[in-house]
């Protein structure tokens, strides 16, 4: 049996603890905002926060979340930074197909929590594990700067 919170709500689970967190969220809780992209922690589409840190939920077993705070795209707007990132994403019209963007927003939010005013190089370093086939990268960079400005 493991216990954790998801977006502030307490949950417990006593099923297969090796189950990747992604499948727990999607299949057990029907929280489908977090996406499956590659299943190997190589694309970033499944990014969620574990105690504020970005993790790839496709390779994170449910057991690793025991006692922790999980935040997903559905709950990222509870915090000021998450709201600012979502607003910047909309303002600069970042999204094309949208499939990777939950992960992009989660990683960007974690970046801004750790670094209030990231440079392009900081953004590249933090975000290069989140791939976007539509290549919305120019606007991702700009939107992170925009969010940083709005939070200052």
């Amino acid at each position: 049996m493991v216990k954790f919170t998801i977006n502030g709500k307490a949950h417990s689970f006593d099923g297969d603890l090796a189950m990747p967190l992604l499948w727990y969220l999607r299949d057990e809780l029907a929280m489908t905002g977090t996406k499956y992209g590659c299943g190997m922690a190589l694309c970033g589409a499944c990014t969620v926060h574990l105690d504020g840190q970005s993790v790839r939920s496709c390779v994170t077993p449910v057991s690793a979340a025991d006692g922790k705070k999980i935040t997903t795209i559905e709950g990222v707007d509870a915090e000021r930074i998450g709201r600012a990132v979502q607003a910047a994403w909309r303002k600069l019209q970042v999204v094309q197909c949208g499939y990777c963007q939950s992960g992009q927003i989660m990683t960007a939010t974690a970046l801004l929590a750790a670094n209030k005013n990231p440079s392009d190089a900081d953004i590249d370093a933090a975000m290069s594990g989140n791939i976007c086939r539509c290549a919305t990268y120019v606007r991702i960079r700009a939107a992170i700067h925009e969010a940083a400005r709005s939070l200052a």
Binding site: C43, Y99, R133, C134
Partner: protein, 780 residues
């Protein structure tokens, strides 16, 4: 990023993507997010391990007995047509006695969970007997193994032109393929209904084709099959035809078990099963004058088509059609060989052969410049299509809308090409290890499906009595902003706010017999069909208003959420539609569009296959480490002709993304098959698409001031594909940097993709050649 026009209220504005509020909150529903019906089974496919082999035996007993397995099917269980395909029916649903490539589906499993299905699919015991395999396009060409007969097009006496030209050289090069790598993998969810109905949710660019293929595979009429797609998490051509494996197998298993079946491919399986952009080898022979103007050119293309025809015919044709790019070719001879290989069946990928034609001629032009010691941009200009002469394409279409001279001129200025060229030469002269390169390349891209019949579209427009509007059209949304643009068109026509218009999911039961959302035609076709539906409703409403309020029908205007009946009345739109409903006026209509002017003869490859051309140009600068082959794009400038853009923000996003995707194709994205024909780059661990860190720090994208000379939807021009070949500016800039090692006079034999490894190998060759030339000089 807004553009205001006085005559239009919503068209021309950078309105937000209609799903933006859903995208950023995780609430946008993709196929895998649809709540599963109780009892849903999950499918997985068993894939072949041999490129070409006889299947001596296939023991599936362990698969059938594995935990959770409900059904296992092979080709024998396909109730209808066992062979499918968009043109030729040459693709078996499952391997038919022999395997045709590594990764070919041989059977499928339905189990109670995704995990159990995948585990079971690994348990098959298959005995193979190897057969000779063809693993490269070159081998296919040499052995005359074709999926379709070669296509040949020529004008003038090319042998004579080559023999008498002041300069002549020949060569060959290879350009790799490209995996679509849509972040949302292939997926279908089939729900059996009453009386043989089958409802298939599918991530596909071509719901109608999926509907037809499912019907064929199930052996039943099309009207019982409904295919629906709300949106895709990327398509890029990979979901034009090749979503069929997933749609049909899910539907066959659903029919077989009577249960809903979801088939979501694992990333590796997706990459092993489905085809990619055609890689090709090109052989050329070119004759030219002292200015680098081409007098005669010969090409032979050897395309890797894979095991089946799929879309290789039209892809090969489009490569031929774009071999001219922005240049007049007076005398030419182009042979296109569609090689059959024991690999995945290559298919559509953004550009559909166009980028492959464009890179070929640009490679040759770049070579000419090196041989003559000229700046490649000068040679490009010397070959540009003329406006009133030298303006007929190899397929006998007159280029009437040529803006390439002005467009390239403007980009040359705004990118400070000449100044930077001088700076780069100076830098390279004093920098022994790091070398810079610069390239400015034009693109001309033909818009329309080459097969004329596909250039039609339908729409279905409903106005409800609260004044809200629902538009359904045959196109699919894959991130390109099609639904946003179509909603803008409808809002504009009806004179209502954008927020009143909702675009429904694409649904084969609403608009039938649709074309693929492909060939960059989505907005051109579906926008026009939606406009037609709106105009039809407006016509009826105007007649009603004239009778009701006593004005002339042609005085009635729909603007600013009002229906204005001359000086007689101005009624809010929602109130007016309620009155019209009471007056028993139909508040819905279909709409239809067929692209005018186009025609094309497949036998002679001549006609007017394209309604118009899109123009663009990119200037890229790179820096290359000549000791490691590592490189960076340091700046790119792009100018693009979107005509009168319907949504500049969406269009610029398409250009940025297409350019970077094109750069990825030609630099880091390497597909690699081992000696047994197994694709070894089948996951993001080994297949490298661009990341944010690969994007230039400076990327200036501007729209060229223009309007479409043809009457396209609001005089806009297509996006989608034409930005992709602009990425070749990066490849050619790398080539330019390498050429600096040979004082610009050696044409670097750089194949694409220009991976660090390929760059390093080419550097060694160029340096050796430069040393040999130096030695020649000394000994002379």
């Amino acid at each position: 990023m807004t553009k205001q026009t006085t005559e239009h209220r919503t068209v021309g504005q950078s309105l937000f993507h209609e799903s933006a509020h859903l995208h950023v909150t995780g609430r946008a529903t993709y196929t895998d997010d649809i709540p599963e019906r109780n009892g849903t089974l999950h499918a997985a496919m068993g894939l072949s391990a041999k490129a070409h082999a006889k299947i001596k035996s296939m023991d599936l007993s362990a698969v059938k007995n594995a935990p959770g397995v409900v059904a296992v099917i092979t080709l024998d269980d396909v109730p209808g047509d066992k062979y499918l395909g968009p043109f030729l029916h040459d693709e078996p649903v499952f391997a038919d006695g022999e395997t045709l490539y590594v990764g070919q589906p041989m059977f499928a499993v339905a189990a109670t969970s995704h995990d159990l299905a995948r585990r079971a699919a690994k348990l098959a015991k298959v005995e193979y007997e190897d057969l000779p395999a063809i693993l490269t396009a070159q081998q296919g060409a040499e052995e005359k193994a074709y999926v379709l007969p070669p296509v040949h097009i020529a004008r003038g006496d090319v042998e004579d032109k080559l023999a008498t030209a002041p300069h002549r050289h020949d060569g060959d090069f290879y350009v790799g393929g490209q995996e679509q790598f849509y972040l949302e993998g292939q997926i279908a969810y089939a729900l059996p209904g009453e009386d043989m109905d089958m409802h298939v949710y599918c991530s596909t660019q071509h719901p109608s084709e999926m509907q037809f293929m499912v019907a064929h595979a199930l052996g039943q009429p099309v009207h019982g099959i409904k295919v629906e797609c709300r949106r895709m998490g990327g398509g890029f051509g990979g979901k034009e035809t090749q979503s069929w494996y997933f749609a049909t197998v899910a539907a066959i298993l659903a029919r077989h078990t009577g249960k809903p079946v979801k088939l979501r491919a694992d990333r590796d399986d997706d990459m092993m099963i489905t085809g990619k952009r055609h890689d090709f080898r090109a052989l050329f022979d070119v004759g030219y004058d002292d200015n680098g103007r081409i007098l005669g050119v010969k090409f032979q293309y050897q395309l890797r088509c894979g095991f089946s025809a799929d879309l290789s015919g039209p892809v090969g044709d489009r490569q031929i059609f774009h071999t001219d790019n922005a240049y007049y070719l007076d005398t030419f001879d182009i042979l296109s060989i569609r090689a059959k290989t024991n690999t995945q069946s290559n298919t559509a990928f953004r550009g559909f052969g166009g980028p492959q034609g464009i890179i070929a001629i640009e490679y040759v032009i770049d070579d000419i410049a090196r041989k003559l010691g000229k700046d490649p941009l000068e040679v490009r200009k010397a070959n540009f299509y003329g406006k009133t002469e030298r303006n007929v394409t190899p397929y006998q279409m007159t280029v009437e809308d040529n803006v390439i001279h002005e467009l390239v001129g403007q980009l040359e200025e705004s990118s400070e090409y000449q100044k930077r060229r001088a700076e780069i030469d100076a830098f390279n002269a004093t920098s022994p290890v790091l070398k810079k390169g610069l390239s400015l390349v034009p693109v001309k891209f033909g818009i329309s499906f080459t097969a004329t019949q596909f250039n039609q579209a339908g729409a279905l427009l409903h106005i409800y009595t609260d004044g809200s509007v629902l538009i359904n059209h045959g196109g699919t949304e894959m991130g390109q902003g099609l639904n946003t643009k179509v909603a803008q068109v409808v809002a504009e026509e009806l004179g209502v706010d954008f927020a009143r218009v909702r675009v429904s999911a694409t649904d084969t039961s609403k608009v039938p017999n649709t074309s693929a959302t492909a060939a960059s035609t989505g907005t051109d076709l579906n926008g026009k069909a939606a406009q037609d539906a709106a105009v039809k409703i407006k016509t009826v409403l105007a007649e009603f208003a004239a009778t009701k309020y006593g004005c002339a029908a042609d005085e009635v205007k729909f603007r600013d959420n009002q229906v204005i009946c001359g000086d007689k009345a101005s009624v809010p739109f929602d109130e007016f539609v309620r009155v019209a409903y009471t007056g028993r006026v139909p508040l819905w209509s279909s709409g239809f569009y067929r692209t005018p002017k186009i025609h094309y003869d497949f036998a002679t490859l001549t006609g007017r296959p394209f309604f118009y051309f899109v123009y663009g140009a990119a200037c890229s600068e790179v820096i290359v480490d000549t000791l490691t082959g590592e490189n960076r794009i340091t700046r790119s400038d792009i100018l693009y002709d979107a005509g009168s853009s319907i949504n500049p923000a969406i269009d610029i996003g398409q250009i940025e993304g297409g350019f970077i995707q094109g750069a990825g194709w030609l630099t880091t994205e390497e597909l690699w098959w081992n000696k047994d024909g197994k694709l070894m780059t089948h996951a993001p661990s080994t297949y490298k698409i661009p990341a944010v860190s690969d994007c230039p720090p400076v990327l200036n994208v501007k729209l060229f001031e223009n309007s479409n000379g043809e009457e396209s939807i609001y005089r806009s021009k297509a996006l989608g594909e034409p930005p992709l070949p602009l990425g070749m500016a990066v490849f050619l800039a790398i080539r330019d940097a390498i050429a600096s090692l040979g004082e610009g006079r050696v044409a670097p034999p750089l194949n694409a993709p220009a991976t660090a490894e390929a760059i390093l190998n080419t550097i060694e060759i160029v340096q050796a050649e430069a040393r040999a030339k130096q030695l020649e000089k000394v000994t002379a």
